[in-house]
């Protein structure tokens, strides 16, 4: 029974919940807490999968009344499969972070060489780099020696206040180590079999992190400069056709900046509580009672 319930929970969390949650707009009012909720959902899905793998063979052998050797074999098999799942996740995480680090180091090297230092003298920020090019771009390269990169196209397009807002936005990504959050979701996505995974968490968390950075920048410069910068940067590149998901996420961000709402304490508290409950309740309700029974007939 435990295995079935955990399996149902795991499938619900990985297949049913992400779609509606990614489409919902209430997380826009508590973006940081919503990121925590996504992390809890992902972790709870992994724990459920591990629970199924460990509980199912034990429950089956107990129900069939198998002898000790069979139960022992089932237990060893279950532990091995669980170890493989954990190992696969860790290897994926290690690979993603190692490759990202190498790519960022190379990127940093090149951006330092291509930097037009003479164009950023008034910006007085040591880690800003300016690339030559009309394409308006602003991004940051995270890492121990982080960089914020602007193209001179972007500098021409934005006024001073807007540039400051953009820098504040990027510095929030860097200070809060948002790349680590994105890397962990990417690693999880890569480790999960194709039939069970969905892009929804990745895209939703990405958008939420942008909102967190928007909020921090708004606090420094007010919401108007950042909104202006966002509009100018996107409008500068004509699109052959509207790309819906991008359009939608941009609209959500500009709408928040156009009509700033007070961050809702209640909502934040409720979302954090839900995230904690998601991790604690299945363990207490399902896993602990099963563990009590299973340990009583421990076959090894």
């Amino acid at each position: 029974m435990t295995a079935l319930l955990l399996g149902a929970l795991g499938l619900t969390l990985s297949l049913i919940v992400p779609g509606p949650l990614a489409r919902a707009h209430w997380p826009d009012r508590a973006p940081a807490a919503a990121v925590l909720l996504w992390q809890a959902i992902t972790l709870a899905a992994v724990l459920s999968a591990l629970g199924v793998v460990l509980a199912a063979p034990e429950e089956l052998t107990r129900a069939l009344g198998s002898g000790k050797p069979v139960a022992a074999a089932a237990l060893i098999g279950a532990l091995a499969v669980a170890a493989v799942i954990v190992l696969r996740l860790l290897v994926s995480l290690w690979g993603v972070s190692r490759r990202s680090r190498a790519r960022r180091a190379r990127h940093r090297l090149l951006v330092d060489l291509l930097d037009r230092a003479e164009q950023r003298q008034e910006l007085d920020a040591g880690h800003v780099r300016v690339l030559q090019g009309n394409l308006p771009l602003a991004y940051c390269v995270p890492g121990r020696e982080a960089r914020v990169v602007l193209s001179d196209g972007a500098l021409r397009l934005l006024d001073r206040e807007q540039v400051d807002a953009v820098l504040a936005h990027e510095q929030t990504h860097l200070r809060h180590r948002h790349e680590v959050v994105m890397e962990s979701f990417t690693a999880f996505y890569r480790a999960v079999p194709a039939a069970l995974r969905s892009r929804a968490p990745l895209d939703a968390v990405h958008l939420l992190l942008e909102m967190v950075a928007d909020d921090a920048a708004s606090k420094r410069t007010g919401p108007a400069p950042l909104r202006g910068a966002l509009e100018r940067l996107t409008d500068a590149v004509p699109l052959a056709e509207e790309v819906m998901p991008e359009e939608d996420s941009r609209r959500r961000r500009t709408a928040r900046l156009a009509a700033p709402q007070r961050p809702s304490r209640m909502l934040t508290g409720a979302v954090v509580a839900a995230a904690v409950a998601l991790l604690v309740l299945p363990t207490v309700i399902l896993v602990v009672p099963w563990l009590g029974q299973a340990l009583a007939v421990w076959p090894l």
Partner: protein
């Protein structure tokens, strides 16, 4: 002068001259045009480092070596921007956080246009 600034200046000299240059030519150019009074060996060391990093090509010319950038500034800039933009979860996490996330196809087209100009 910090090593990073030195590397950047030397790359700028190579990019602007376009033809492969010897260490002596780079050294002279830095002194004459940019008023950088550097030791000859410093210039040599930096060029060697840049070659090791794969951004500068070493060409044997008789007994001396000449140095030329692997790509023009415009090409390298375009390639760098592409690198920042690419990244799907099937490969890896995106390298960078953008302010306004633009569709990669639109940017690719814009970058190709820039490359044609450059």
């Amino acid at each position: 002068m910090a090593l990073g600034d030195l590397e950047r200046e030397i790359m700028t000299v190579l990019w602007e001259t376009y033809l492969p240059m010897t260490v002596r030519e780079v050294h002279q150019e830095l002194a004459r045009e940019r008023h950088r009074d550097l030791a000859y060996t410093t210039v040599m060391t930096v060029l060697d480092r840049l070659a090791k990093k794969g951004v500068v090509r070493q060409i044997k010319d008789g007994r001396a070596y000449k140095y030329a950038p692997m790509q023009s500034r415009a090409e390298m800039t375009a390639a760098l921007m592409m690198d920042a933009l690419s990244g799907t979860p099937d490969q890896d996490a995106a390298l960078a956080h953008f302010v306004g996330r633009l569709p990669p196809e639109a940017l690719r087209a814009a970058l190709e246009a820039i490359q044609r100009q450059g």
